[in-house]
Symmetry: C2
């Protein structure tokens, strides 16, 4: 019995003397050819992990040099790629890659608007979802539940309860558990953030943090600059606080368009704050380059307004170097840093935190007045989890799994979606922001997909200015990737049919109009 | 060995042939005399439970008729009193009872005011507290931690985690756990409230519920009528939302003065909402009579404004009949009902709930936009706890213990505090609202008490109009009642000394002023 049943190819399927190469070829080429065929046949799929060097050597009875050379051949052919500290992975087929999404038009800037009714739009979507409870979920905002460390957190919670039986019956400190805040302060160094435990207030998820930040720096009626597209939860928060959103274009690859913001700040003196998601923006998946981050902080500092940074996805990036938060460039308290563990660790634990920059005391007051301290239990569980290397281990695994899912999804998209579809692969995270052919309305697509048993998120909810009607956001699905492939194939067929129908209709109309031999009665 | 070491008097100390009565006296009189002496000597203290009928019969070898007669004698002498379903308890000494607190002056109504700085006042108090971390706490807002069912909740949490391991890693429903909401809806019938599970939204404690209610029905700058005194958390919420508080006098025995509110509604057309704590008001401990409750709901309905009911103490009342909430009289959605399990069950679980009356959908929107759903784990624990009779058992025990504490405190207050102190014993709950002699400033008293190692809450924080400077709020302390007695004795000495000093000063000034033989240089 071979213990590693999850290995992509069992040893007996891969004799070293593979018959697709002459025996005169060097061994490393024979092995490369074997894996090349496995990849092209779909036996090894995009995103799957290749055997480790050690496993490769053992399996084929070859030296490290031979193993390394084999992988170099495949790497040069763009069939596999190395991921730092994680090994080699099968790449998505380059043939099937979609063209990059179009860059935003910086010349047209919508007027500041208060989206009256975003909540009813979202409510409608939610109630539609509820009509199809068994639909395959590509519309969510967290990774699949099985990607989160359920067992480890459960054990940590059991330990915490046994060790501190009074957690449920004793009120906690206003700012949150001190031990947790100390650990978070240490970890924040990774993001380039220098804060002490006392500069941190624990919040009910990242969304409470963003709400507190907005309340601290605005009054109802004020204007807030946001990215366009931006996640609808922010538009809901703005609407519920009576604030107006001014949408600043954002690029699918580099996020918020700095020059557009600069222009907006000069022409809209009533902007009181900017809200930005610098790392793996929702829905774009974009990451702002460091130079943009520095410039954004500088612009806000010069304008004397708050820069509210919402940064819950930072640790989901595919990169050897950790990304830095906007707060890393903050020298005068301009940046209010908000984040959570909701996306990276546990969607069931409502734990976020905030550093309020120069508004920190006011935010502390608002938090206390609004909801008092967070529950102690989950904070203690989180502190225990962060203290060991369990969180880092989990993150590495989560990033690997998400990358594999994204590769598979990208391949399926490329294979199934019609011409005219555009898409910039995100630098990590959970979301795919897909530009459908102009003919396809995302509202129609949403309805049709749901009838097919698939949840997607229509582009219209990511703007308060009626933009993005031919966009959809898909999120990484459950780990059953075959089901996901199937769902994406069906979505692709749907988009293709809708595009063809629209073209046929347009063409019929074209033919029809000039002749006009058939009046409407 | 006698198993019941906590029995107030061991059998051997209480021979039936007690020598303080002639043998010719009936047995029930001999036994009554024995207990009378034990109470007068302080062997049995105010608030302590008398032996049960069964224990009494066994201990003294007497019939039920004799036991009953003995207790009737003591009851007629006002030495003990019966509590429904709980047995007999030693009453506080009537000699030492303080005069009732003065009723509010309904003729003078402060102007609506926005308390700018309530948070800094509270912050100062908190940082003062932190300078004396070991101080005896009579300033808190929950019962002593050992009065909450730590073990049972811990066990329920362990069970919940084992049964539903994904609680921490799966997001919950927006309104809160459906099973919990169904149980709460059933339990609400006790308060006279008819709601379904879907009419309930779980919140982060009662304070989030009150904040959501205020946000739903007001805009910054609006006026809200509140009780005077009212708990400072409400003043903080009002201030943080930019609202103005109009203080309506409240009686120490019957709460909000309905006629004063009626007058205010007629003269202040800008009042957008009324916030009231109908049952065991904080700090008064008052309970509104049912007729007042009905009239209050009617007044608000007629004025077309929201009545925000904050009702977290209802279940702590000493009464055989459960108290009804204001919501019980609501026929048109005027009442927004807010409550929590923070005071009755578990100060560490931030669980409250709200029914928003006719503003319910808007409150649902605000809750989602502000903080999403509550954490699942504590909701499941609570549901499990409420499903059995564990909660009822706990409440009975909590009420007994609190009553005993209050009796002891009332006795110690009566024995130690100076003439001029007034106090209306509350109908249940945690708080004592004490009117000190006019000469004593509560700010000075707060400082002096803290230096004595005792935390009290000064009256000034219960008003935004500078009232109640000679009031303090004390809360039921830890269950070490001897320590509490000692603390109250020291507070009494302090108040006596401050009163005497002020009198001496006034008298010296009196002597001094008319002569004016000593000019200031």
């Amino acid at each position: 019995m071979h213990a590693h049943t999850s290995m992509p190819l069992a040893p007996h399927a891969l004799p070293a003397s593979s018959n697709d190469a002459t025996a005169s070829e060097p061994l490393y080429r024979q092995l490369a050819a074997h894996y090349r065929r496995a990849i092209r046949n779909g036996v090894l799929r995009p995103g799957e992990r290749m055997p480790s060097m050690r496993a490769f050597m053992q399996r084929h009875g070859v030296s490290l040099a031979t193993a390394t050379e084999s992988y170099r051949v495949l790497e040069r052919e763009a069939l596999i790629e190395a991921q730092p500290r994680a090994g080699y992975f099968v790449r998505a087929s380059q043939n099937a890659a979609l063209p990059a999404a179009s860059e935003p038009d910086l010349a047209t800037m919508p007027r500041a608007a208060q989206f009256v009714g975003i909540h009813s739009v979202i409510s409608t979507i939610v109630s539609q979802y509820q009509r199809y409870p068994d639909a395959f979920n590509l519309g969510g905002a967290t990774a699949s539940p099985d990607l989160y460390p359920t067992d480890a957190l459960q054990k940590a919670a059991l330990r915490a309860l046994r060790r501190r039986p009074t957690l449920l019956t004793t009120a906690g400190p206003d700012q949150g558990d001190p031990a947790l805040r100390a650990i978070i302060a240490r970890r924040a160094l990774d993001a380039g953030i220098q804060v002490g435990a006392d500069d941190i207030i624990m919040t009910h998820g990242g969304i409470e943090a963003v709400n507190l930040a907005l309340r601290a720096v605005t009054q109802p009626g004020d204007t807030v600059a946001v990215e366009s597209p931006c996640f609808f939860g922010l538009l809901q928060a703005l609407e519920s606080l009576g604030l107006r959103a001014l949408e600043i274009p954002a690029s699918p690859s580099t996020g918020l368009a700095i020059e557009a913001l600069d222009f907006a700040l000069q022409t809209h003196p009533d902007i009181k704050a900017v809200v930005a998601v610098p790392n793996l923006q929702n829905p774009l998946g974009s990451v702002m380059p460091d130079a943009h981050k520095a410039r954004l902080v500088e612009l806000c500092a010069r304008a004397g307004i708050a820069l509210i940074e919402d940064d819950p996805y930072r640790e989901l990036v595919d990169s050897a170097q950790p990304l830095r938060s906007l707060k890393a460039w903050d020298s005068d308290g301009t940046v209010i840093h908000c984040t959570s563990f909701n996306k990276t660790l546990a969607p069931g634990m409502r734990i976020g935190w905030i550093n309020g920059g120069r508004w920190h005391p006011r935010i502390g007051m608002l938090k206390f007045a609004q909801s008092r301290h967070n529950e102690q239990l989950s904070q203690v569980v989180l502190a225990e989890f962060l203290q060991t290397n369990a969180y880092e281990r989990h993150l590495r695994r989560l990033r690997d799994r998400l990358r594999m899912q994204r590769e598979r999804m990208a391949a399926a998209l490329g294979a199934s979606f019609p011409e005219g579809t555009r898409f910039t692969p995100p630098a990590g995270g959970i979301f795919f922001w897909i530009e459908l052919p102009r003919e396809v309305s995302s509202a129609d697509f949403f309805d049709a997909a749901l009838k097919e048993g698939i949840r997607v998120m229509p582009g219209t909810v990511f703007s308060n200015a009626g933009r993005f009607d031919h966009f959809i956001r898909l999120s990484c699905p459950s780990t059953d990737l075959d089901l996901a492939d199937d769902a994406l194939r069906r979505l692709g067929r749907l988009a293709t049919a809708m595009t063809a129908r629209a073209s046929a209709y347009a063409s019929a109309a074209d033919k029809h109009t000039p002749r006009s031999h058939c009046e409407t009665p």
